[in-house]
């Protein structure tokens, strides 16, 4: 059976959605599936949002992992929306505010922390995208990484502080921070830093 989009390759992904006994089916080759989810996550194939589908697989496999079953009292809900769907779509990243809803809509996450918050959903999607679930390639980190990347982290922290302090119009503090930032930048740029830690 050929892919519904390109009509050239063999369809290896078969999607069938049944809602209120209304059936919809879609057949895609792996290339078009990945292509569309990457480049056009909001693309609607006659009712399907592919990104949403790839991330909804956990839901279709029987409930949302991680949620404990509610007691009868608690499960009474005034809204008509299925309770589970409402809760998971409200799932939010504590670091950047990205929601599961946004993930399903765009196919992307907002920050590294999202990978922890939305782990289950993402891992299910990863299975269809990649040849394995575990990274076996190179990793960052030698002794050198520690020192200079600490400087970078510090630099970013100072810059963040500076933004906040300027917003509060505490210009004297801002000036001091600016000096610290300049000094740190000089240290980062110099080939052989002599002192370990001058500032703070």
């Amino acid at each position: 059976m050929l892919c519904d989009i390109c009509n050239k390759h063999e369809a290896t992904i078969h999607i069938q959605e049944i809602i209120n006994s209304q059936k919809k089916a879609m057949h895609l080759c792996s290339e078009c599936a990945v292509d569309k989810s990457q480049n056009d996550p909001s693309f609607d194939f006659g009712g399907f949002n592919l990104a949403e589908m790839l991330y909804n697989i956990s839901e279709s496999q029987g409930g949302i992992p991680g949620l404990t079953p509610m007691s009868d009292e608690e499960s009474i809900d005034e809204t008509n929306k299925p309770r589970e769907a409402k809760e998971t779509n409200d799932l939010k990243c504590i670091n950047c505010g990205w929601t599961l809803k946004a993930l399903r809509r765009t196919g992307r996450v907002g920050c590294p922390e999202c990978y922890n918050i939305f782990r289950e959903v993402i891992e299910n999607a990863l299975e269809n995208m990649h040849r394995g679930k575990l990274h076996v390639g190179k990793s960052p980190g030698s002794q050198n990484t520690e020192k200079s990347s600490n400087f970078m982290l510090k630099l970013m922290r100072l810059q963040k502080e500076l933004d906040e302090v300027i917003q509060r119009e505490e210009y004297e503090k801002a000036a001091k921070l600016r000096d610290k930032i300049t000094a740190l930048k000089k240290k980062i740029n110099s080939p052989k830093p002599k002192k370990k830690n001058a500032s703070k």
Binding site: C111, H135, V136, K138, M152, L153, M156
Partner: protein, 360 residues
């Protein structure tokens, strides 16, 4: 002044055009792209302007102080440049279409011979790409890995022990690496064997697409083969697999060409001759027709049919017939029809000294 940098770039010889690598008439260039992000900050899609600025300055700092990124790099603050300039960079495959007019706090670092380019704040904080002519994936990996190793000393990359390098899109997670080769496959196309070849490649979980982005559009008989998966295999495993697949494809293409030459000689010569005729004598030339004709010309060059037209000429034309390049040369905006006229004139001029080496 901002304007000069794009002109500066255009004046330099582009490595993959000037050199030709192994099997250069079939495998045109090899490319590897790495996606990297800095710890502790959101990806561009969820970052505030303030955070984007932080990312931009941190990465620029790291790049400027690196020894691999030396004085032969040009850097661009994308918002300082016009849309036309962005299009030129896109046509030279130095940036992605997502990066065009992406807004504030996006930067590009490009080596003057265009063998390496780094986008800042595209889909990820850093998108590093390196290129080599021909089929030389391992050489590209050596080069890009060297830069990556150096940058990681001053940029704390976002990394998870299970999922590898963390990226904005889970399709890039793990190695964050997309390796691809640009191929010219007229033999397969003219023999009607391209679809079977593409399906074969797909079965090995490699993606094949026309190089102009959309699906399997095969304008100019040009294709890009790349890995789909970035997780579960090491970088060298991915490259090794891709290299094997490409080597087989190249052989397949060569066989098709010799078979055509043996069994359908005049069909092939006719294809080349007509392509050459159009390029030499047309007065309006759409980019599609130009690309397809250049493909015919390229086969002719490979078969040694021409004097004073070599692969470099063809490769250079392939680049310069694009809309933004033409308008840059014309030094004004051109409507689609005017472009077609200008393109034809440009090509006629470039090929005016061309001669067929075999008798007509």
């Amino acid at each position: 002044m901002p304007l000069n940098k794009i002109d500066k770039l255009l004046k330099h010889d582009v490595s993959w055009l000037v050199d030709s690598g192994p099997d250069g008439d079939i495998a045109i260039s090899s490319r590897i792209r790495l996606a990297r992000n800095i710890q502790g900050l959101p990806f561009p899609i969820a970052a505030t302007p303030g955070q984007l600025e932080q990312i931009q300055s941190a990465t620029e700092l790291a790049l400027k102080k690196s020894t691999t990124v030396g004085k032969d790099y040009l850097d661009f603050h994308m918002s300082d440049y016009s849309e036309l300039d962005h299009q030129i960079l896109l046509e030279r495959r130095l940036i992605s279409s997502e990066f065009v007019d992406k807004g504030e706090h996006t930067s590009l670092f490009v080596k003057q011979d265009e063998s390496c380019a780094i986008m800042i704040n595209e889909e990820d904080h850093l998108r590093i790409q390196a290129l080599c002519p021909g089929l030389q994936l391992f050489k590209v990996w050596e080069q890009i890995n060297k830069l990556d190793l150096e940058l990681e000393k001053s940029l704390p990359y976002s990394y998870d022990s299970q999922l590898g390098y963390l990226t904005s899109c889970p399709t890039n997670v793990g190695t964050g690496m997309r390796a691809s080769v640009m191929l010219h496959l007229p033999g397969l196309v003219l023999s009607g064997k391209i679809n079977a070849a593409i399906q074969g490649v797909n079965k090995l979980s490699m993606a094949v697409r026309g190089i102009f982005g959309e699906g399997t559009d095969n304008r100019g008989n040009l294709f890009q083969v790349s890995n789909q998966s970035t997780l579960g295999e090491s970088e060298t495993q991915i490259i090794d697999r891709l290299n094997t697949v490409i080597t087989q494809l190249v052989m397949h293409e060569k066989n098709c060409r010799s078979s055509l030459l043996k069994n359908k000689k005049y069909f092939l010569l006719d294809h080349v001759g007509r392509s050459y005729g159009i390029l030499r004598h047309a007065y309006t030339l759409s980019s599609e027709e130009a690309l397809n004709s250049l493909s015919g010309l390229r086969i002719g060059v490979d078969m040694g049919m021409f004097n004073s037209v070599d692969l470099h000429t063809v490769n250079k034309l392939f680049l310069t017939i694009n809309p933004a390049h033409l308008q840059k040369f014309a030094q004004k905006e051109l409507s689609s029809q005017d472009r077609d006229v200008f393109r034809a004139a440009f090509v006629r001029k470039q090929l005016k000294n061309a001669k067929l080496s075999k008798g007509e």
